[in-house]
Amino acid sequence: MGTTAGRATEQPGEEDRRGAFSSRRVFILAAIGSAVGLGNIWRFPYVAYENGGGAFLLPYLVALLTAGIPFLLLDYAIGHRHRGSAPLSFARMRRGTEGLGWWQVGICFVIAVYYAAVIAWALRYTFFSLDLAWGADPEGFFFGEFLQAGDVQVTADVVPGVLVPLALVWLLVLVVMALGVQRGIGVTSLAVIPVLVLAFAALVVQAVLLPGAGAGLDALFAPDWSALTSASVWAAAFGQIFFSLSVGFGIMITYASYVHRREDMVGSGLVVGFSNSAFELLAGIGVFAALGFMAQANGVAVDEVASGGIGLAFVAFPAIISEAPAGTLLGVLFFGSLVVAGLTSLISVLEVVISAVRDKLDTSRRTATLAVVVPAAVLSLVLFSTTSGIYVLDVVDHFVNQYGILVVALVSMLVVAWVVRALPGLGAHLNVHGRPRVGTGWRLLTGVVAPASLAVVLVLALREDFAAPYEDHPTWLLLVLGWGLVVALPVLGFLLARLPWRAGTHLDGPPPGSDPAEPLHAAPATDPAPQTRHDEGGRA
Protein backbone atom coordinates (compact mmCIF):
# COMPACT_ATOMS: atom_id res chain seq x y z
CA MET A 1 0.00 0.00 0.00
CA GLY A 2 1.29 3.43 -0.83
CA THR A 3 2.16 6.17 1.56
CA THR A 4 -0.22 9.00 2.28
CA ALA A 5 0.09 12.64 3.15
CA GLY A 6 -1.96 12.14 6.27
CA ARG A 7 -3.42 9.36 8.29
CA ALA A 8 -5.99 8.03 5.85
CA THR A 9 -5.88 6.64 2.34
CA GLU A 10 -8.16 7.32 -0.62
CA GLN A 11 -11.79 7.79 0.42
CA PRO A 12 -14.66 5.80 -1.10
CA GLY A 13 -16.43 9.07 -1.92
CA GLU A 14 -13.45 10.38 -3.88
CA GLU A 15 -15.46 10.53 -7.10
CA ASP A 16 -18.12 12.58 -5.32
CA ARG A 17 -15.49 14.89 -3.94
CA ARG A 18 -13.62 15.49 -7.20
CA GLY A 19 -16.54 15.22 -9.60
CA ALA A 20 -16.85 12.99 -12.67
CA PHE A 21 -18.33 12.91 -16.15
CA SER A 22 -21.60 11.00 -16.19
CA SER A 23 -20.81 9.04 -19.35
CA ARG A 24 -18.28 8.38 -22.07
CA ARG A 25 -20.27 10.59 -24.46
CA VAL A 26 -19.98 13.57 -22.12
CA PHE A 27 -16.25 13.04 -21.70
CA ILE A 28 -15.69 12.76 -25.45
CA LEU A 29 -17.67 15.92 -26.15
CA ALA A 30 -15.81 17.80 -23.40
CA ALA A 31 -12.47 16.59 -24.78
CA ILE A 32 -13.48 17.59 -28.32
CA GLY A 33 -14.59 20.97 -26.95
CA SER A 34 -11.17 21.42 -25.41
CA ALA A 35 -9.24 20.35 -28.50
CA VAL A 36 -11.35 22.30 -30.98
CA GLY A 37 -10.44 25.91 -30.30
CA LEU A 38 -9.46 29.09 -32.06
CA GLY A 39 -6.37 27.41 -33.53
CA ASN A 40 -8.48 24.95 -35.51
CA ILE A 41 -10.33 27.78 -37.21
CA TRP A 42 -7.66 30.38 -37.75
CA ARG A 43 -4.37 28.50 -37.55
CA PHE A 44 -4.73 25.22 -39.45
CA PRO A 45 -5.93 26.64 -42.80
CA TYR A 46 -3.05 29.09 -43.07
CA VAL A 47 -0.42 26.62 -41.84
CA ALA A 48 -1.60 24.11 -44.45
CA TYR A 49 -1.63 26.74 -47.19
CA GLU A 50 1.87 27.99 -46.27
CA ASN A 51 3.40 24.53 -46.11
CA GLY A 52 2.64 22.81 -49.37
CA GLY A 53 -1.17 23.02 -49.57
CA GLY A 54 -2.57 19.59 -50.38
CA ALA A 55 0.87 18.00 -49.95
CA PHE A 56 0.87 19.20 -46.32
CA LEU A 57 -1.88 16.73 -45.57
CA LEU A 58 0.59 13.84 -45.79
CA PRO A 59 2.93 15.04 -42.99
CA TYR A 60 -0.18 16.20 -41.12
CA LEU A 61 -1.67 12.68 -41.14
CA VAL A 62 1.69 11.13 -40.27
CA ALA A 63 1.97 13.55 -37.34
CA LEU A 64 -1.58 12.77 -36.18
CA LEU A 65 -1.01 9.01 -36.18
CA THR A 66 2.60 8.86 -34.96
CA ALA A 67 2.67 11.67 -32.39
CA GLY A 68 -0.72 13.33 -31.79
CA ILE A 69 -2.89 10.34 -30.93
CA PRO A 70 -0.11 8.43 -29.09
CA PHE A 71 0.60 11.52 -26.97
CA LEU A 72 -3.13 12.01 -26.36
CA LEU A 73 -3.35 8.41 -25.14
CA LEU A 74 -0.37 9.00 -22.85
CA ASP A 75 -2.16 11.95 -21.21
CA TYR A 76 -5.35 9.90 -20.91
CA ALA A 77 -3.46 7.00 -19.34
CA ILE A 78 -1.73 9.24 -16.79
CA GLY A 79 -4.95 10.92 -15.65
CA HIS A 80 -7.19 7.86 -15.86
CA ARG A 81 -4.77 5.57 -14.00
CA HIS A 82 -3.82 8.02 -11.27
CA ARG A 83 -7.25 9.70 -10.99
CA GLY A 84 -6.00 13.15 -10.16
CA SER A 85 -5.27 16.60 -11.49
CA ALA A 86 -1.94 17.03 -13.28
CA PRO A 87 0.09 17.65 -10.08
CA LEU A 88 -1.61 14.82 -8.19
CA SER A 89 -1.24 12.39 -11.09
CA PHE A 90 2.47 13.16 -11.43
CA ALA A 91 2.93 12.95 -7.65
CA ARG A 92 1.25 9.55 -7.63
CA MET A 93 3.45 8.40 -10.50
CA ARG A 94 6.59 9.56 -8.65
CA ARG A 95 6.69 12.12 -5.87
CA GLY A 96 9.58 14.14 -7.33
CA THR A 97 7.72 14.80 -10.58
CA GLU A 98 4.85 16.75 -9.00
CA GLY A 99 6.45 20.02 -10.09
CA LEU A 100 5.81 19.07 -13.73
CA GLY A 101 2.10 19.07 -12.96
CA TRP A 102 2.25 22.51 -11.34
CA TRP A 103 4.29 23.79 -14.28
CA GLN A 104 1.40 22.67 -16.53
CA VAL A 105 -1.09 24.32 -14.17
CA GLY A 106 0.83 27.61 -14.37
CA ILE A 107 0.79 27.52 -18.16
CA CYS A 108 -2.95 26.89 -18.17
CA PHE A 109 -3.54 29.82 -15.83
CA VAL A 110 -1.60 32.20 -18.09
CA ILE A 111 -3.34 30.92 -21.22
CA ALA A 112 -6.75 31.38 -19.59
CA VAL A 113 -5.93 34.99 -18.74
CA TYR A 114 -5.31 36.03 -22.34
CA TYR A 115 -7.49 33.50 -24.17
CA ALA A 116 -10.58 35.08 -22.60
CA ALA A 117 -9.69 38.40 -24.25
CA VAL A 118 -9.81 36.92 -27.75
CA ILE A 119 -13.17 35.31 -26.97
CA ALA A 120 -14.41 38.72 -25.80
CA TRP A 121 -13.31 40.28 -29.11
CA ALA A 122 -15.13 37.53 -31.04
CA LEU A 123 -18.23 38.06 -28.89
CA ARG A 124 -18.23 41.76 -29.70
CA TYR A 125 -17.67 41.04 -33.40
CA THR A 126 -20.65 38.67 -33.43
CA PHE A 127 -22.79 41.72 -32.74
CA PHE A 128 -20.72 43.99 -35.01
CA SER A 129 -21.65 41.57 -37.82
CA LEU A 130 -25.30 42.58 -37.51
CA ASP A 131 -24.68 46.12 -38.80
CA LEU A 132 -21.20 45.65 -40.32
CA ALA A 133 -19.85 48.14 -37.79
CA TRP A 134 -16.30 48.03 -39.22
CA GLY A 135 -17.41 49.88 -42.34
CA ALA A 136 -15.04 50.07 -45.29
CA ASP A 137 -11.81 49.74 -43.30
CA PRO A 138 -11.88 46.60 -41.09
CA GLU A 139 -8.18 46.87 -40.22
CA GLY A 140 -8.39 50.50 -39.13
CA PHE A 141 -11.56 49.73 -37.22
CA PHE A 142 -10.06 46.75 -35.35
CA PHE A 143 -6.81 48.35 -34.24
CA GLY A 144 -8.10 51.92 -34.00
CA GLU A 145 -11.74 52.28 -33.08
CA PHE A 146 -12.23 48.90 -31.37
CA LEU A 147 -8.94 48.15 -29.55
CA GLN A 148 -7.73 51.78 -29.52
CA ALA A 149 -4.21 50.36 -29.73
CA GLY A 150 -1.57 52.95 -28.95
CA ASP A 151 2.19 52.67 -28.75
CA VAL A 152 3.87 49.42 -27.70
CA GLN A 153 3.85 49.90 -23.93
CA VAL A 154 1.85 48.76 -20.91
CA THR A 155 -0.83 51.33 -20.09
CA ALA A 156 -3.84 51.64 -17.80
CA ASP A 157 -6.07 53.36 -20.35
CA VAL A 158 -9.23 51.25 -20.26
CA VAL A 159 -11.16 50.44 -23.44
CA PRO A 160 -14.83 50.01 -22.39
CA GLY A 161 -15.69 48.23 -25.65
CA VAL A 162 -13.34 45.40 -24.63
CA LEU A 163 -13.87 45.60 -20.88
CA VAL A 164 -17.61 44.84 -20.96
CA PRO A 165 -17.56 41.71 -23.18
CA LEU A 166 -14.47 40.47 -21.34
CA ALA A 167 -16.26 40.82 -18.00
CA LEU A 168 -19.24 38.95 -19.48
CA VAL A 169 -17.00 36.11 -20.65
CA TRP A 170 -15.51 35.73 -17.17
CA LEU A 171 -18.92 35.86 -15.53
CA LEU A 172 -20.20 33.10 -17.79
CA VAL A 173 -17.11 30.98 -17.18
CA LEU A 174 -17.38 31.53 -13.43
CA VAL A 175 -20.92 30.13 -13.43
CA VAL A 176 -19.99 27.10 -15.56
CA MET A 177 -16.94 26.27 -13.46
CA ALA A 178 -18.81 26.69 -10.18
CA LEU A 179 -21.46 24.20 -11.31
CA GLY A 180 -18.84 21.46 -11.38
CA VAL A 181 -17.48 18.78 -13.66
CA GLN A 182 -20.74 17.22 -14.87
CA ARG A 183 -23.33 19.97 -14.30
CA GLY A 184 -20.98 22.69 -15.52
CA ILE A 185 -18.41 21.36 -18.02
CA GLY A 186 -20.33 18.24 -19.04
CA VAL A 187 -23.71 19.86 -19.61
CA THR A 188 -22.13 22.83 -21.40
CA SER A 189 -20.24 20.50 -23.73
CA LEU A 190 -23.35 18.42 -24.42
CA ALA A 191 -25.26 21.56 -25.32
CA VAL A 192 -22.77 23.60 -27.33
CA ILE A 193 -20.53 21.16 -29.24
CA PRO A 194 -23.35 19.93 -31.53
CA VAL A 195 -24.35 23.58 -32.05
CA LEU A 196 -20.75 24.46 -32.93
CA VAL A 197 -20.53 21.66 -35.49
CA LEU A 198 -23.87 22.59 -37.07
CA ALA A 199 -23.04 26.32 -37.14
CA PHE A 200 -19.67 25.72 -38.72
CA ALA A 201 -21.11 23.27 -41.23
CA ALA A 202 -23.66 25.94 -42.22
CA LEU A 203 -20.80 28.45 -42.59
CA VAL A 204 -18.87 26.06 -44.82
CA VAL A 205 -21.91 25.44 -47.04
CA GLN A 206 -22.47 29.18 -47.36
CA ALA A 207 -18.77 29.81 -48.08
CA VAL A 208 -18.36 27.14 -50.79
CA LEU A 209 -21.40 28.53 -52.62
CA LEU A 210 -19.78 31.98 -52.90
CA PRO A 211 -18.39 32.99 -56.29
CA GLY A 212 -14.62 32.41 -56.36
CA ALA A 213 -14.72 29.74 -53.66
CA GLY A 214 -13.12 27.25 -56.05
CA ALA A 215 -10.03 29.44 -56.44
CA GLY A 216 -9.66 29.54 -52.66
CA LEU A 217 -9.98 25.77 -52.34
CA ASP A 218 -7.53 25.36 -55.19
CA ALA A 219 -5.01 27.50 -53.29
CA LEU A 220 -5.49 25.38 -50.18
CA PHE A 221 -5.44 21.92 -51.74
CA ALA A 222 -3.23 22.26 -54.84
CA PRO A 223 -0.19 20.22 -53.81
CA ASP A 224 3.37 21.46 -53.82
CA TRP A 225 5.08 18.09 -53.56
CA SER A 226 8.54 19.64 -53.24
CA ALA A 227 7.46 20.87 -49.78
CA LEU A 228 7.69 17.28 -48.52
CA THR A 229 11.50 17.47 -48.63
CA SER A 230 11.52 20.47 -46.26
CA ALA A 231 12.13 19.81 -42.56
CA SER A 232 10.23 22.98 -41.62
CA VAL A 233 7.08 21.65 -43.36
CA TRP A 234 7.22 18.44 -41.32
CA ALA A 235 7.88 20.46 -38.18
CA ALA A 236 4.86 22.65 -39.00
CA ALA A 237 2.70 19.53 -39.32
CA PHE A 238 3.83 18.09 -35.98
CA GLY A 239 3.48 21.54 -34.38
CA GLN A 240 -0.06 21.97 -35.70
CA ILE A 241 -1.16 18.53 -34.46
CA PHE A 242 0.49 19.07 -31.10
CA PHE A 243 -0.96 22.55 -30.43
CA SER A 244 -4.35 21.60 -31.78
CA LEU A 245 -4.93 18.48 -29.68
CA SER A 246 -4.45 20.18 -26.28
CA VAL A 247 -1.88 17.58 -25.26
CA GLY A 248 1.03 17.91 -22.89
CA PHE A 249 -0.16 20.62 -20.56
CA GLY A 250 -2.55 19.00 -18.17
CA ILE A 251 -5.95 19.30 -19.84
CA MET A 252 -6.32 15.72 -21.00
CA ILE A 253 -4.79 14.39 -17.77
CA THR A 254 -7.42 16.30 -15.80
CA TYR A 255 -10.37 15.35 -18.00
CA ALA A 256 -9.33 11.68 -18.09
CA SER A 257 -9.26 11.62 -14.30
CA TYR A 258 -13.02 12.32 -14.35
CA VAL A 259 -13.80 9.28 -16.52
CA HIS A 260 -15.23 6.05 -15.13
CA ARG A 261 -12.41 3.61 -14.43
CA ARG A 262 -13.77 0.89 -16.71
CA GLU A 263 -13.90 3.07 -19.80
CA ASP A 264 -12.23 2.46 -23.18
CA MET A 265 -9.73 5.32 -23.26
CA VAL A 266 -8.01 4.18 -26.46
CA GLY A 267 -11.23 4.18 -28.49
CA SER A 268 -12.24 7.51 -26.94
CA GLY A 269 -8.83 8.97 -27.81
CA LEU A 270 -9.13 7.91 -31.44
CA VAL A 271 -12.57 9.53 -31.67
CA VAL A 272 -11.29 12.78 -30.11
CA GLY A 273 -8.15 12.87 -32.28
CA PHE A 274 -10.00 12.28 -35.55
CA SER A 275 -12.83 14.67 -34.56
CA ASN A 276 -10.33 17.43 -33.99
CA SER A 277 -8.77 16.90 -37.41
CA ALA A 278 -12.18 16.57 -39.07
CA PHE A 279 -13.13 19.97 -37.67
CA GLU A 280 -9.81 21.46 -38.83
CA LEU A 281 -10.36 20.21 -42.33
CA LEU A 282 -13.87 21.66 -42.31
CA ALA A 283 -12.43 24.97 -41.11
CA GLY A 284 -9.83 24.94 -43.88
CA ILE A 285 -12.53 24.45 -46.52
CA GLY A 286 -14.74 27.20 -45.08
CA VAL A 287 -11.96 29.74 -44.56
CA PHE A 288 -10.30 29.29 -47.95
CA ALA A 289 -13.59 29.22 -49.83
CA ALA A 290 -14.35 32.60 -48.24
CA LEU A 291 -10.84 33.90 -49.02
CA GLY A 292 -11.30 32.80 -52.64
CA PHE A 293 -14.48 34.88 -52.80
CA MET A 294 -12.65 37.89 -51.36
CA ALA A 295 -9.79 37.52 -53.85
CA GLN A 296 -12.19 37.37 -56.78
CA ALA A 297 -14.23 40.32 -55.51
CA ASN A 298 -11.08 42.43 -55.32
CA GLY A 299 -9.56 41.12 -58.54
CA VAL A 300 -6.42 39.81 -56.82
CA ALA A 301 -4.78 36.42 -56.30
CA VAL A 302 -5.64 34.35 -53.24
CA ASP A 303 -2.09 34.67 -51.89
CA GLU A 304 -2.66 38.41 -51.51
CA VAL A 305 -5.59 37.92 -49.12
CA ALA A 306 -4.55 34.70 -47.36
CA SER A 307 -3.76 35.17 -43.69
CA GLY A 308 -4.09 33.45 -40.35
CA GLY A 309 -4.63 34.23 -36.69
CA ILE A 310 -5.99 37.57 -35.55
CA GLY A 311 -5.50 39.09 -39.01
CA LEU A 312 -7.72 36.43 -40.58
CA ALA A 313 -10.47 36.65 -37.99
CA PHE A 314 -10.70 40.37 -37.31
CA VAL A 315 -9.45 41.94 -40.54
CA ALA A 316 -9.93 39.56 -43.49
CA PHE A 317 -13.23 38.01 -42.40
CA PRO A 318 -14.99 41.33 -41.70
CA ALA A 319 -14.02 42.40 -45.24
CA ILE A 320 -15.48 39.15 -46.60
CA ILE A 321 -18.64 39.58 -44.54
CA SER A 322 -19.11 43.10 -45.90
CA GLU A 323 -18.98 41.92 -49.51
CA ALA A 324 -20.63 38.49 -49.33
CA PRO A 325 -24.31 37.89 -50.01
CA ALA A 326 -26.03 37.24 -46.64
CA GLY A 327 -22.82 38.49 -45.06
CA THR A 328 -24.49 39.11 -41.70
CA LEU A 329 -25.36 35.42 -41.41
CA LEU A 330 -21.80 34.49 -42.38
CA GLY A 331 -20.47 36.87 -39.72
CA VAL A 332 -22.70 35.59 -36.95
CA LEU A 333 -21.83 31.98 -37.82
CA PHE A 334 -18.09 32.69 -37.99
CA PHE A 335 -17.70 34.80 -34.87
CA GLY A 336 -20.31 32.76 -32.98
CA SER A 337 -18.26 29.64 -33.77
CA LEU A 338 -15.11 31.37 -32.52
CA VAL A 339 -16.88 32.25 -29.26
CA VAL A 340 -18.19 28.72 -28.67
CA ALA A 341 -14.94 26.99 -29.68
CA GLY A 342 -12.98 29.41 -27.51
CA LEU A 343 -15.25 29.07 -24.47
CA THR A 344 -15.09 25.27 -24.34
CA SER A 345 -11.30 25.47 -24.58
CA LEU A 346 -11.11 28.19 -21.93
CA ILE A 347 -13.21 26.06 -19.60
CA SER A 348 -10.81 23.16 -20.04
CA VAL A 349 -7.67 25.16 -19.22
CA LEU A 350 -9.34 26.63 -16.14
CA GLU A 351 -10.39 23.18 -14.99
CA VAL A 352 -6.72 22.15 -14.92
CA VAL A 353 -6.09 24.89 -12.34
CA ILE A 354 -9.27 24.41 -10.31
CA SER A 355 -8.81 20.65 -10.18
CA ALA A 356 -5.22 21.05 -8.95
CA VAL A 357 -6.25 23.52 -6.24
CA ARG A 358 -9.04 21.20 -5.08
CA ASP A 359 -6.75 18.19 -4.99
CA LYS A 360 -4.03 20.02 -3.09
CA LEU A 361 -6.21 21.83 -0.56
CA ASP A 362 -9.25 20.71 1.35
CA THR A 363 -11.68 23.06 -0.31
CA SER A 364 -15.11 23.00 -1.93
CA ARG A 365 -15.71 23.30 -5.65
CA ARG A 366 -17.12 26.80 -5.31
CA THR A 367 -14.30 28.06 -3.12
CA ALA A 368 -11.68 26.69 -5.51
CA THR A 369 -13.52 28.18 -8.48
CA LEU A 370 -13.62 31.61 -6.86
CA ALA A 371 -9.96 31.32 -5.80
CA VAL A 372 -8.90 30.61 -9.39
CA VAL A 373 -11.37 32.43 -11.62
CA VAL A 374 -11.55 35.76 -9.77
CA PRO A 375 -7.78 36.45 -9.82
CA ALA A 376 -7.59 35.26 -13.44
CA ALA A 377 -10.47 37.55 -14.38
CA VAL A 378 -8.95 40.55 -12.60
CA LEU A 379 -5.58 40.00 -14.28
CA SER A 380 -7.28 39.54 -17.62
CA LEU A 381 -9.34 42.71 -17.27
CA VAL A 382 -6.36 44.76 -16.10
CA LEU A 383 -3.97 43.55 -18.81
CA PHE A 384 -6.22 43.13 -21.82
CA SER A 385 -8.95 45.73 -21.63
CA THR A 386 -6.45 48.56 -22.05
CA THR A 387 -5.00 50.23 -25.11
CA SER A 388 -1.86 48.10 -24.77
CA GLY A 389 -3.78 44.81 -24.48
CA ILE A 390 -3.08 43.63 -28.04
CA TYR A 391 0.71 43.87 -27.63
CA VAL A 392 0.75 42.14 -24.26
CA LEU A 393 -1.49 39.41 -25.65
CA ASP A 394 0.66 38.94 -28.73
CA VAL A 395 3.87 38.51 -26.73
CA VAL A 396 2.42 36.30 -23.97
CA ASP A 397 0.63 34.12 -26.52
CA HIS A 398 3.73 33.67 -28.66
CA PHE A 399 6.06 32.72 -25.82
CA VAL A 400 3.81 30.81 -23.44
CA ASN A 401 1.86 29.04 -26.15
CA GLN A 402 4.97 28.22 -28.14
CA TYR A 403 7.80 27.60 -25.68
CA GLY A 404 5.89 27.11 -22.44
CA ILE A 405 3.74 24.29 -23.79
CA LEU A 406 6.42 22.78 -26.00
CA VAL A 407 9.05 22.58 -23.28
CA VAL A 408 6.78 21.28 -20.53
CA ALA A 409 5.30 18.68 -22.88
CA LEU A 410 8.72 17.53 -24.03
CA VAL A 411 10.15 17.36 -20.50
CA SER A 412 7.05 15.59 -19.14
CA MET A 413 7.12 13.03 -21.92
CA LEU A 414 10.82 12.31 -21.45
CA VAL A 415 10.45 12.04 -17.68
CA VAL A 416 7.48 9.67 -17.93
CA ALA A 417 9.16 7.51 -20.58
CA TRP A 418 12.79 7.48 -19.51
CA VAL A 419 13.04 8.54 -15.85
CA VAL A 420 9.92 7.06 -14.28
CA ARG A 421 9.75 4.39 -17.02
CA ALA A 422 6.00 4.37 -16.66
CA LEU A 423 5.05 3.54 -20.25
CA PRO A 424 4.66 -0.26 -19.78
CA GLY A 425 2.33 0.26 -16.79
CA LEU A 426 0.37 2.97 -18.54
CA GLY A 427 0.03 0.84 -21.67
CA ALA A 428 -1.20 -2.10 -19.61
CA HIS A 429 -3.75 0.22 -17.96
CA LEU A 430 -5.06 1.35 -21.37
CA ASN A 431 -5.31 -2.26 -22.53
CA VAL A 432 -7.57 -3.43 -19.70
CA HIS A 433 -10.63 -1.99 -21.44
CA GLY A 434 -9.14 -0.22 -24.43
CA ARG A 435 -9.38 -1.32 -28.05
CA PRO A 436 -7.33 -1.43 -30.20
CA ARG A 437 -4.63 -2.56 -27.81
CA VAL A 438 -1.48 -0.47 -27.47
CA GLY A 439 1.90 -2.18 -27.33
CA THR A 440 5.53 -1.76 -28.25
CA GLY A 441 4.62 0.51 -31.15
CA TRP A 442 2.83 2.96 -28.87
CA ARG A 443 5.73 2.94 -26.41
CA LEU A 444 8.16 3.63 -29.24
CA LEU A 445 6.02 6.47 -30.58
CA THR A 446 5.50 8.16 -27.19
CA GLY A 447 9.01 7.51 -25.91
CA VAL A 448 11.01 8.33 -29.05
CA VAL A 449 9.11 9.60 -32.09
CA ALA A 450 6.86 12.17 -30.40
CA PRO A 451 9.60 13.70 -28.18
CA ALA A 452 12.04 13.79 -31.11
CA SER A 453 9.51 15.56 -33.32
CA LEU A 454 8.68 18.05 -30.56
CA ALA A 455 12.39 18.72 -30.08
CA VAL A 456 12.75 19.55 -33.78
CA VAL A 457 9.73 21.89 -33.63
CA LEU A 458 11.25 23.57 -30.58
CA VAL A 459 14.70 24.03 -32.13
CA LEU A 460 13.28 25.51 -35.34
CA ALA A 461 11.12 27.93 -33.36
CA LEU A 462 14.04 28.96 -31.15
CA ARG A 463 16.25 29.52 -34.17
CA GLU A 464 13.66 31.90 -35.61
CA ASP A 465 13.24 33.85 -32.38
CA PHE A 466 16.97 34.19 -31.79
CA ALA A 467 17.49 35.42 -35.35
CA ALA A 468 15.31 38.50 -34.82
CA PRO A 469 13.18 39.95 -31.99
CA TYR A 470 9.63 38.66 -32.24
CA GLU A 471 7.56 41.11 -34.32
CA ASP A 472 10.23 43.75 -33.55
CA HIS A 473 8.67 44.30 -30.12
CA PRO A 474 10.82 46.14 -27.52
CA THR A 475 13.39 43.94 -25.81
CA TRP A 476 12.07 44.70 -22.31
CA LEU A 477 8.59 43.51 -23.32
CA LEU A 478 9.97 40.26 -24.76
CA LEU A 479 12.19 39.66 -21.74
CA VAL A 480 9.53 40.35 -19.08
CA LEU A 481 6.33 38.95 -20.58
CA GLY A 482 7.98 36.52 -22.99
CA TRP A 483 11.14 34.76 -21.88
CA GLY A 484 10.57 35.86 -18.26
CA LEU A 485 7.25 34.06 -18.03
CA VAL A 486 8.60 30.98 -19.80
CA VAL A 487 11.37 30.69 -17.18
CA ALA A 488 9.25 31.72 -14.17
CA LEU A 489 6.54 29.09 -14.67
CA PRO A 490 8.66 25.96 -14.05
CA VAL A 491 10.36 27.64 -11.07
CA LEU A 492 6.96 28.47 -9.61
CA GLY A 493 5.75 24.97 -10.40
CA PHE A 494 8.49 23.25 -8.44
CA LEU A 495 8.02 25.70 -5.54
CA LEU A 496 4.29 24.89 -5.38
CA ALA A 497 5.18 21.20 -5.33
CA ARG A 498 6.83 21.76 -1.95
CA LEU A 499 3.51 22.70 -0.32
CA PRO A 500 1.91 19.83 1.63
CA TRP A 501 -1.09 17.92 0.28
CA ARG A 502 -4.41 17.94 2.10
CA ALA A 503 -4.67 15.32 4.82
CA GLY A 504 -5.64 11.89 3.56
CA THR A 505 -4.26 12.23 0.06
CA HIS A 506 -2.94 8.96 -1.31
CA LEU A 507 0.35 9.74 -3.05
CA ASP A 508 2.26 6.64 -4.02
CA GLY A 509 0.90 4.99 -7.12
CA PRO A 510 -2.68 4.82 -8.37
CA PRO A 511 -5.23 5.19 -5.56
CA PRO A 512 -6.87 2.06 -4.12
CA GLY A 513 -10.01 1.09 -6.00
CA SER A 514 -8.83 2.68 -9.24
CA ASP A 515 -7.76 -0.53 -10.98
CA PRO A 516 -10.01 -0.93 -14.03
CA ALA A 517 -9.62 -4.71 -13.83
CA GLU A 518 -11.33 -4.86 -10.45
CA PRO A 519 -15.07 -5.68 -10.46
CA LEU A 520 -17.47 -2.82 -10.01
CA HIS A 521 -18.84 -2.12 -6.55
CA ALA A 522 -15.96 -3.95 -4.86
CA ALA A 523 -15.60 -3.18 -1.19
CA PRO A 524 -13.12 -0.37 -0.61
CA ALA A 525 -9.76 -1.72 0.46
CA THR A 526 -8.94 1.35 2.46
CA ASP A 527 -9.64 2.80 5.82
CA PRO A 528 -12.76 4.90 5.37
CA ALA A 529 -11.64 7.50 7.88
CA PRO A 530 -14.03 10.41 8.28
CA GLN A 531 -13.12 13.48 6.32
CA THR A 532 -14.77 16.75 5.44
CA ARG A 533 -16.61 16.08 2.21
CA HIS A 534 -17.13 18.59 -0.55
CA ASP A 535 -19.38 17.48 -3.35
CA GLU A 536 -18.43 18.56 -6.84
CA GLY A 537 -21.24 21.04 -7.10
CA GLY A 538 -19.78 22.87 -4.14
CA ARG A 539 -22.04 21.60 -1.37
CA ALA A 540 -19.79 21.31 1.63
Binding site: F221, P223, R262, G267, A278, I285, H433
Partner: protein, 44 residues
Protein backbone atom coordinates in the same frame (compact mmCIF):
# COMPACT_ATOMS: atom_id res chain seq x y z
CA UNK B 1 -10.34 23.92 -59.04
CA UNK B 2 -7.55 21.84 -60.50
CA UNK B 3 -7.88 18.06 -60.69
CA UNK B 4 -4.97 17.64 -58.24
CA UNK B 5 -6.68 19.88 -55.68
CA UNK B 6 -10.00 18.06 -56.03
CA UNK B 7 -8.35 14.66 -55.61
CA UNK B 8 -6.44 15.77 -52.51
CA UNK B 9 -9.50 17.38 -50.96
CA UNK B 10 -11.54 14.19 -51.48
CA UNK B 11 -8.72 11.95 -50.21
CA UNK B 12 -8.21 14.13 -47.11
CA UNK B 13 -11.92 14.08 -46.34
CA UNK B 14 -12.12 10.32 -46.89
CA UNK B 15 -9.13 9.57 -44.67
CA UNK B 16 -9.97 11.93 -41.79
CA UNK B 17 -13.74 11.65 -41.74
CA UNK B 18 -13.52 7.96 -42.63
CA UNK B 19 -11.08 7.49 -39.75
CA UNK B 20 -13.53 9.24 -37.44
CA UNK B 21 -16.39 7.02 -38.61
CA UNK B 22 -14.33 3.86 -38.07
CA UNK B 23 -13.22 5.07 -34.61
CA UNK B 24 -16.80 5.81 -33.56
CA UNK B 25 -18.07 2.47 -34.89
CA UNK B 26 -15.27 0.59 -33.13
CA UNK B 27 -15.91 2.37 -29.85
CA UNK B 28 -19.65 1.71 -30.00
CA UNK B 29 -19.16 -1.96 -30.88
CA UNK B 30 -16.53 -2.55 -28.22
CA UNK B 31 -18.47 -0.53 -25.65
CA UNK B 32 -21.56 -2.62 -26.31
CA UNK B 33 -19.60 -5.85 -25.76
CA UNK B 34 -18.21 -4.47 -22.50
CA UNK B 35 -21.70 -3.49 -21.31
CA UNK B 36 -23.09 -6.95 -22.05
CA UNK B 37 -20.17 -8.61 -20.25
CA UNK B 38 -20.78 -6.42 -17.23
CA UNK B 39 -24.50 -7.23 -17.24
CA UNK B 40 -23.69 -10.95 -17.27
CA UNK B 41 -21.33 -10.53 -14.31
CA UNK B 42 -24.00 -8.69 -12.34
CA UNK B 43 -26.65 -11.30 -13.18
CA UNK B 44 -24.49 -13.97 -11.58
Amino acid sequence: MSADAIVLMVVAMAVIWGGLAVAVASLLRHGAVEDRTEDLRRDR
